[in-house]
Symmetry: C2
Subunit: 372 residues, 2 copies
């Protein structure tokens, strides 16, 4: 058991898979990695169903859950989502209506609003309680500093709490808050991200941990798509790799056929760090969606307004793209990192873990050969 | 001699130091690394003087030269610099005049225009000829695809030609052009850079080399400030590291006291990728300079106009900053990568090479310990 993360969370190989898809989570853990279910958008009932399914399919291997207990409530919870939507200026709704009409896409009934659009403390805590009724081995806080109630709950259940950081300054706050594991995510990563690149951020965060005389492992995230990169980041001092984008190109993933084809075709220059999806900067596959918003010259709405407006529209676009609408295909996008340039095929999630293991060994061999 | 780069260019340790300062070049090579003199802004006579000095101080160790032979002449060489300057719209000259007046800085006589502002083929070839009269072991082309005359000259003298690339697509062109070494520079690096991060770009370029069935080593550049990062990049398959920013924080460097203090104080988030210096995107220390240009709302002039306008102004600002003008200090900036966040002290260039060597061994130990 040479890996530090093996001791902390029980996985054989310190490759962490962040995924919204239970199939990926179970497959990665079964293969010796560590699956983490992104549960921010679930209701407690949905999460219970998902975790029960994972328990039935993970063959006793360890896994974790990523939830969100916001430090500050982003939205007054007494206001309804409909009231929030009504507050969106009409020029924005006109813009999405025009965009949909031009592409010949019809917006269906709004459907459920993603929970992440309206993070709230009590929902986060309920999700946490659901998680602790399952054999989870890690709790990750999706955004911002982990609040005391999360740290305390982790301590009470003997489960380490991890937090994502995109800047050294955030790492210092998380260390003070008492997190057990830091995930340093570089700006090349998919989803919400900062601007500092992984190979600069990881040493900066390791240095912050050392200065604080804290004994906290740091996982490297952002741009990691193979085991050679993972080995490289561990040579720099990381305790393992936390990956998101690589799982989107697996047979088990929630991604649809059109997006998979776009991932395979994309180069690393085909992503964009843009506010035109959630209202905060997040890295996504660059598409006609971003071009249209830039053309319109409307600044992105703040979170969660931008998310409430765009998510139903993007879901309708996805559906039309899958049904063969070429204009919808052009608009279709999703969160993905620059590592998309390294995607050449769709593999099984378990196969990706096995590939990482042999590439990791290759990475070590590269260095061993260089040392002579 | 386990390192591939040792065979190709004769250095003991594959750490390449790009520097405009002959002292850094000689010190790095003496310490077992490989110094590369950035010679783009020299006249042939100046370069001759510099290389003679290096020969006298390098103790027979190998070094290289970085020149520029542009594929396309950026500027009609029959037009004088004064004519070019006269073509700059008056609002731009008014803007720099206001900026200088507000800071109480006086613009001295314009001084020599950097050669890099007016790259031209015959100057590049003259610099190349000067270089070949010295025992250089590497020629690097600063920007764009290495032209046939450079490749041929390298072949004729048995000296490998290296080229910097910031995107896989550029690497493919350079491979076709026949370069001997590729330097994959991530967007976190200082100076002119693309947007793809080092840990994504290096695997992409390695993959392009493999697909082309070419046998070309790839050096990793961008964000590398210590030997653990270098080991990490070599685990990923790089043949060595090419660094610029780390040498700016050495006792031998051309940087002045004020900029050194700003480097030590800076975090990785204090850089900006901006056109407001040369006219092309380059990463620099973020300062009042960029804030003032953004405020003014004037788009950057194209290269070389922006460079011709800004360089004399920035030199005057530097001088005033060193003389204790606090407003000039605030405006003072220079090319530097995100790795500036890892600068904590000023060391000797030779000391940096020694530190890299022991950190490189540490990086290997990290991995060896992880493998068990």
């Amino acid at each position: 058991m040479p890996f530090r993360m093996t001791e902390m969370v029980g996985c054989e190989f310190p490759l962490f898979a962040f995924s919204h898809c239970r199939d990926v989570v179970a497959a990665v853990s079964r293969a010796g990695g560590f699956g983490v279910l992104g549960a921010v958008s679930y209701t407690p009932e949905q999460l219970e169903t998902e975790l029960r399914w994972i328990d039935d399919h993970v063959e006793g291997k360890p896994y974790g859950v990523d939830v969100l207990i916001p430090e500050v409530q982003a939205v007054d919870q007494s206001i309804t989502t409909q009231e929030i939507l009504a507050a969106i200026p009409s020029e924005y709704r006109d813009m999405t209506a025009r965009l949909l009409a031009d592409a010949g896409v019809e917006l269906e009934e709004a459907g459920p609003v993603p929970g992440s659009a309206r993070p709230n403390t009590s929902l986060g805590q309920e999700l946490l309680e659901v998680s602790f009724n399952h054999p989870v081995r890690l709790i990750a806080n999706a955004l911002g500093t982990a609040p005391p109630e999360m740290i305390e709950a982790g301590r009470r259940h003997g489960i380490p709490v991890a937090a994502l950081v995109g800047a050294k300054e955030h790492a210092i706050k998380q260390i003070e808050a008492g997190v057990d594991i830091l995930i340093a995510q570089g700006g090349e990563g998919g989803g919400h991200c900062g601007e500092v690149s992984t190979i600069v951020l990881v040493p900066e965060v390791l240095d912050a941990v050392e200065r604080a005389r804290a004994d906290i492992p740091v996982l490297a995230a952002g741009g990691i798509m193979n085991g050679r990169q993972m080995a490289g980041m561990m040579a720099m001092g990381a305790a393992g790799a936390w990956c998101g984008s690589v799982w989107l190109a697996t047979t088990e993933a929630e991604t649809h056929e059109v997006f998979r084809e776009k991932m395979i075709a994309a180069s690393s220059r085909d992503t964009i760090r843009s506010k035109y999806r959630t209202g905060k900067y997040s890295r996504q596959l660059r598409s006609g969606w971003h071009a249209r918003w830039e053309e319109a010259g409307l600044p992105a709405l703040p979170m969660p307004l931008m998310m409430l407006l765009s998510e139903p529209v993007l879901r309708a676009i996805d559906k039309a793209a899958v049904n063969g609408n070429p204009k919808a295909r052009e608009l279709c996008s999703y969160f993905v990192g620059q590592g998309v340039g390294l995607v050449t095929e769709i593999r099984s999630a378990g196969g990706v873990v096995q590939d990482f293991k042999s590439e990791f060994a290759e990475g070590f061999e590269h260095l061993a050969a260089a040392i002579g």
